[in-house]
């Protein structure tokens, strides 16, 4: 007689951690996390030991001490008696400014160049190819210093505007001064200004918002809303009667009247730059460090975007172009109405990484003395306080934050325009 017995019950053996697929992945993960944590602990203990030897205690107290240096370009008020944290914020805003300006110009230039590279005109396609290859194959740092050198060497110095028979004159009916210190353009001024709103009191995060600007924006919004209403009414009439009423003058009036009324009420006028003492005074001063960085980043990134745009356009099947032509569309309308909107879906993902690259490359500002985050927090603040660990880590975290928010925003946009496959 045989009795049926249970299959021998598998007792847990240590080797099963490796050889049994049920446990193996858990084993690997545990080993990985232990290894990772050990690496981290090792780094931190090294750092602690080294800092102890150097007699430095990591601390962010220096951020609350007076910075002591001046920054030429600042979007919020700042002077040398403000704290290092404030200086870092000024730098951060400058980074954001040049990154946004650069992204906008690079996109516009990149699309134009990408389209022109496919032009039927041989000469223009060749010129664009030369442009793209020239910019793509030379380091961006070299372009930045090169463009800076061009601005400095070829434009007139302010002193050349002086005298009875000056060597240089202001452009556009004496409203714009182009000098090798930067470009001075007229600034909007309000004679009966509403003043500013102050936020965050006296802390280092404080900033002002101009009420004039808010009033202007409200007027603009009202105008746009009215225009929307007018158009909706026109649609309704068109759908009931078949005749669309003429609305263009109403539209114009709806947009411009509120804006003009508000501007007039605020006493809007332009402040023109004028040569005073050593420099031009008045107007908005775009420093040539900003212009050089902005131009170089835009031109450099535009070359890459142009390639993405070209690839995107080539990815659209020829049938689309032919069908659009068969409908009687002109070549430029084929491009703007049929090809580009479809190509956009191919173009956007690489465009995100170009925006990221541009933002990261803006840290090269240091080469031309543009005071961005690298120039303030990781530049002069680092030099003056000797706090390498704190400043560099803080700077890296801020850049990481910027990068993640750009890619998050762009990915969100990409998802919203992506073809939904059914």
């Amino acid at each position: 007689m045989t009795t049926l017995t249970d299959p021998p019950k598998e007792s847990f053996r240590l080797s099963m951690l490796i050889y049994d697929t049920r446990y193996r992945s858990a084993t690997i993960q545990v080993v990985a996390i232990i290894g990772f944590m050990m690496l981290f602990a090792w780094l931190i203990s090294n750092t602690a030991a080294n800092l102890h030897d150097l007699g430095k205690q990591p601390s962010f107290k220096f951020l609350g001490e007076p910075a002591g240096y001046d920054i030429n370009q600042r979007l919020i008020d700042y002077n040398s008696q403000n704290v290092h944290l404030r200086a870092a914020i000024v730098g951060l805003l400058n980074t954001v400014l040049v990154a946004v300006m650069g992204c906008v110009t690079a996109t516009i230039l990149g699309v134009i160049i990408g389209v022109l590279r496919l032009s039927k005109n041989w000469l223009i396609a060749r010129i664009m190819t030369v442009y793209v290859e020239m910019f793509r194959n030379v380091p961006v740092l070299l372009w930045i210093v090169f463009i800076m050198a061009i601005l400095i060497e070829t434009l007139p110095a302010p002193r050349e505007f002086r005298g009875a028979d000056p060597a240089a004159t202001m452009k556009l009916f004496d409203t714009v001064a182009i000098t090798n210190r930067g470009i001075y353009i007229p600034e909007p001024l309000f004679s009966s200004s509403l003043g500013n709103l102050h936020f965050f009191g006296e802390s280092s995060l404080r900033f002002d918002v101009s009420l004039d600007l808010i009033a202007f924006l409200i007027a603009l919004a009202v105008g746009l809303f009215a225009r929307h209403k007018i158009n909706a009414r026109a649609h309704r009439i068109q759908e009931t009667t078949g005749v669309r009423p003429t609305t263009w003058y109403l539209n114009l009036a709806a947009v411009f009247v509120p804006v003009i009324v508000v501007l007039a009420a605020l006493g809007f006028h332009l402040g023109y730059p004028a040569l005073k003492g050593f420099n031009f005074a008045g107007g908005i001063h775009m420093r040539n460090s900003l212009i050089a960085l902005w131009l170089a980043l835009s031109l450099y990134t535009a070359a890459f975007i142009a390639e993405n745009v070209r690839a995107g356009i080539l990815a659209i099947s020829k049938g689309q172009t032919e069908a659009a032509s068969a409908l009687g569309l002109r070549p430029n309308r084929v491009m703007s109405l049929v090809v580009l909107p479809q190509a956009l879906r191919v173009i956007i993902p690489p465009l995100i990484s170009q925006y990221l690259n541009l933002t990261k490359n803006s840290s090269l500002a240091i080469a031309v003395g543009y005071m961005d985050l690298t120039g303030t927090l990781m530049g002069i603040t680092l030099n003056q306080t000797g706090r390498e660990l704190e400043t560099v880590l803080l700077g890296m975290l801020i850049y990481l934050g910027i990068s993640l928010s750009i890619s998050g925003a762009m990915n969100w946009y990409n998802n919203s325009v992506k073809l939904v496959e059914r």
Binding site: I18, Y19, S25, I28, Q29, A32, I33, F36, L43, N46, T47, A49, N50, L51, D53, K120, N121, W122, L123, I124, I127, E133, M134, R136, N137, V138, P139, V140, L141, L142, V145, F146, A149, E153, L356, K360, N361, S363, L364, I366, A367, T374, M378, L382, E388, L389, V392, G395, M396, Y399, L400, S403, L404
Partner: protein, 429 residues
């Protein structure tokens, strides 16, 4: 009335197309002057091109090759606008080799010639003998020895670690299975490198001092420094990048999280901040007493930087493989590493080569950033040269020369990458 109808019995000879649609004229009509707008654009562009070219030529053609200082250039030019090429004649060797000892220039040259040879089996697989791959495997040991010099035993002993690991793997594999063998092999190699290698190398050097004159890395400079940083960082980042890409694709949650975290962190910060880490912080992170020189530290950070980008390129290659390849490997009963080694990686890497080349071009261009932390790459050297009182005030010639060097390198590499892309595409059709 006779019938005078005419029936052609033979064809007329074909007529030439009208002169306006063939040859140069036809081509120009089609491509340059196809409408009034196009014609206008063409004319404007042509004027623009001639203006720029004329300006550049008149500047560049300048008899100042022999000048020994900017002042001399100014004398020669006597008030005319023109380039001062004397600075290039004086310093071009320095811009290429930095401060590398002059009698040892053959070493970097040989290194980069050998680099081309070592890369040939990978890049032009169909045109060179397959045996050359053994040389490629040996090259990572030859290169640092040639560049940095020193006794030959160091690299030999380091290479012996791999041989030892392989032997241990074979032996243990027979006795206790492959996973144990891998662990044992890695452990043996690490013990070898950490404990035995340097005393043994020292001993061998004591016995027979065969080697090249050592050259400290601070003598590296100019183009050679850029190429060295670029090549070493890319080569080192390849294995790290493969591991990161596999980690990112794996379904082990923690491994994946670590890999994604690393990749996104590196890709999210500018290279310049990583170079600041190299120049100011890396020594603080290492155990007290360790001391790499600045170029080693820059290479380490550049490697980490490149490996994050490399991981993304290889991930693209992995994603491009059809799923059938993975399933085929599974159906053959291969385990994960066998499948990766024999089936997945060879194909994925091949698809990724253009991406790897463009990562390299990007990194190579970014090596100019080391000038910001005081290394004397071409751009850093240009500052040092301009500090020399003879050449104080030189701008365009140096920038132009450096830009030209970078352009030549990067342009030829990007052309190669495009050629490769075309070739790979036909392979897959």
């Amino acid at each position: 009335m006779s019938d005078i109808s005419f029936v052609r019995t033979e064809m007329l000879p074909q007529q030439e197309p009208p002169a306006t649609s063939v040859g140069v004229v036809g081509w120009m009509r089609q491509n340059l002057f196809s409408g009034w707008l196009n014609s206008a654009i063409t004319v404007i562009c042509a004027v623009f091109v001639f203006y720029i070219a004329g300006f550049l030529l008149s500047w560049a053609v300048s008899p100042t090759w022999a000048a020994t200082s900017l002042g001399e250039c100014r004398e020669i030019l006597a008030g005319h606008e023109g380039a001062c090429w004397g600075v290039i004649r004086d310093r071009w060797v320095q811009l290429l080799f930095g401060f590398y000892p002059a009698d040892q220039y053959w070493r970097p040259i040989l290194t980069f010639v050998l680099l081309a040879v070592a890369l040939a089996p990978v890049l032009f697989a169909d045109k060179v003998p397959a045996k050359l791959i053994y040389f490629s495997a040996a090259y990572p040991f030859i290169m640092p020895w040639l560049l940095w010099g020193g006794a030959i035993w160091g690299p030999l002993v380091a290479a012996a670690g791999f041989v030892l690991g392989y032997v241990v793997y074979r032996v243990v594999d027979g006795m206790a299975g492959s996973l144990a063998a891998i662990i044992a092999a890695v452990a043996a190699a690490i013990i070898w490198w950490l404990l035995l290698a340097s005393p043994l190398a020292g001993m061998l050097t004591g016995i027979a001092d065969i080697g090249l004159e050592p050259v400290a890395s601070r003598y590296f400079g100019g183009m050679m420094l850029s190429i060295t940083i670029g090549v070493v960082a890319i080569a080192c980042s390849l294995p790290i990048g493969i591991l990161l890409a596999l980690g990112r694709q794996s379904d082990l949650l923690i491994v994946k999280a670590i890999c994604v975290g690393f990749i996104e962190f590196i890709r999210g910060v500018p290279l310049i901040t990583l170079l600041f880490v190299a120049s100011t912080l890396l020594n603080i992170f290492m155990p007290p007493g360790t001391n790499f020189d600045i170029i080693m530290r820059v290479i380490i950070m550049a490697t980490l930087f490149a490996s994050a980008y490399m991981a993304e390129v290889i991930r693209g290659g992995l994603a491009a493989l059809p799923k059938g390849q993975y399933e085929g490997a599974d159906s053959l009963g291969l385990n994960y590493w066998q499948a990766q080694r024999l089936i997945i990686m060879p194909q994925a890497l091949k698809i990724s080569i253009p991406g790897i080349v463009s990562t390299f071009i990007g990194l190579f261009k970014d090596t100019t950033l080391v000038s910001v932390i005081g290394l004397l790459d071409p751009l850093g050297l240009s500052n040092a040269i301009r500090a020399d009182s003879a050449w104080n005030g030189i701008v365009w010639e140096l920038y132009g020369f450096i830009a030209l060097m970078f352009f030549v390198f990067c342009f030829s590499m990007s052309r190669y990458s495009m050629y490769l892309e075309r070739k790979l595409r036909t392979d897959h059709r």
